[in-house]
Symmetry: D3
Subunit: 131 residues, 6 copies
């Protein structure tokens, strides 16, 4: 099995308005370092899983609508708690759609995907699944 | 699959009195950066696997009896070699017991656990298993 | 010259409402990893600059009012742009006041202070000056 | 399941002479931080998976022929694109052979292996498989 | 005193053809993580030293001619040993020229500059001077 | 001004038997990641401050007597508190002696030295001075 991982980051604001979130209920924010990890069984005759430039561009394109945004005002997140875990899955689904659409390679070689969000030097979360 | 990982650290002394340990046979010590990684299939309606504060508190509570200790003098480790791998499993069992006792979430959502100990910038070990 | 550095972090929300801030003008946020570095010419007979526990506690106490806050709503920041540089200086002044008040050591051994804020894996800023 | 990971690095030159590699077609180079991760189901009565000194020595020995080399001139890579993924597999096979030869432990306890190459602070790849 | 630091990286090939360089005499290469640190005495009424976007763009522009290059074939480096220290100074001079030309701020607020090149997880070098 | 920094590490045991050390009074230990930073005004015609291999070897040689040791039993530390700051100065003096003896370069080009000990992911200390 092969894996390829590329990194980008976003800085966002949001609130988590439920009692369980304690001090994080009000408007605050985070820098999320975001890693996208692609998994495959085989590499091609160029020795590649996918073109790393395309992988980096796909991650950047998926993060663009989130950069410097107040997630509380994003219609697609209405009624949702934009936790680190939730955002992992959201970004997972966006990248997975691009993989399935053939944006990263003609042969849809990527079989599995992991999206990791580091919320601080002490905590991170990830979402991983087959595509 | 979702994962959530939190970090803490301990500074301990110990010896590894068997020939195979070479220069580490005598009393020495280590700073172990400790990561606890919790795995689950699903997050709840708050977008959470478990409360990150509870996860951090559980890791801290498990590490408290080890902080600044000479592991050679801990009765529970008598006759054991407190290697990095051994300590991974010891901490794994302590955290797993707290998960099973429902300390991290009412629904015992955590299905799998990984405990990683970084012993230096060049070496680390982990223990991972279902709970 | 000796230096001692301790680390903590905050997650905050804010806006930077001036044209020069481009995409960061609206409400967004950041995780700031915060390092406090204390400088002195001499260590004491215990081999210490200051007690590391006291240094860590002072940094934590200074960061407490900022944790999970929307800085736009903090009266002390009214009319200010809470940039990374500005926050470095703000935290610098808070820690410096505690040093001068003798909170970290009886002898006011700390002569110089640096406060570093990492805003992402690609950018950081610091403020450094004599106390 | 237990894992043990050790780190080393190499600095190499190479070219990637195919159109898909874009700006990386000509002679350039990389520092690869290399992590070798060994997996096993059980540790022995010393609390060890394998001796960490032997694991470190095996990784170093496998990397020695690559250190400071122009990979374009290595006969064993003739006609190959020495991508990060390709080098992960190459190093994987070299370490796996040493494991199977009993170099790391008498009992061939290592069941699975992962080789990770970090090519920059933004990208890494790995190859993982049973031995 | 304030400092602002931004990060980028390059992957290059080169040789160091003198006996003192031992195993690094032949064609090989490196990934250099490059940090540009700008120093000033005062920040402006926006709370800024310089616009971080302009600092990042200046660093990127200076690194562009080096990305994926064989430094042995760069006319400007003819007869030079392109060591880590040498490249620190080369990049220093390029960024300093842009600062002096007013590219980063109208008021030429930057008074001092440091360029750091990390050549591996074990070694780095930097060049620092007034502008 | 130029700087060159190399990294190594040690794992040691010690006690800090004075009330001020609180929980660290008994036998415990630490992994210290150790950085040696050499400073000079000028590099030579090879583009070097000092040979990086010699710098790495000097650091390793100075650390060798400390590796896996119980510092409480080292005669040279009798009656001393082997704090992080103290060990920074001890290693500083050992490296400085080697620099002055011409071990790193014939011309004694190194003018200043910094020794940094990272005791955890949250704390470090350094000692810096002219040679």
């Amino acid at each position: 099995m092969f894996a390829l991982e590329v990194r980008d980051h976003i800085m966002i604001g949001h609130s988590l308005p439920a009692e369980i979130f304690g001090p994080a209920q009000g408007m605050h924010g985070a820098t999320f370092t975001v890693d996208a990890t692609l998994f495959t069984q085989a590499i091609d005759h160029h020795g590649l899983m996918v073109d790393i430039g395309l992988a980096t561009a796909a991650l950047s394109a998926v993060l663009d609508p989130l950069r410097y945004q107040n997630l509380d005002e994003e219609p697609e997140f209405a009624g949702k708690f934009t936790t680190t875990e939730f955002l992992c899955r959201h970004i997972f689904e966006q990248i997975a759609a691009r993989v399935r659409a053939g944006e990263l390679s003609d042969e849809n070689r990527v079989e599995r995907l992991r999206i990791t969000l580091h919320e601080s030097h002490l905590a991170k979360a990830w979402c991983e699944d087959d595509i």
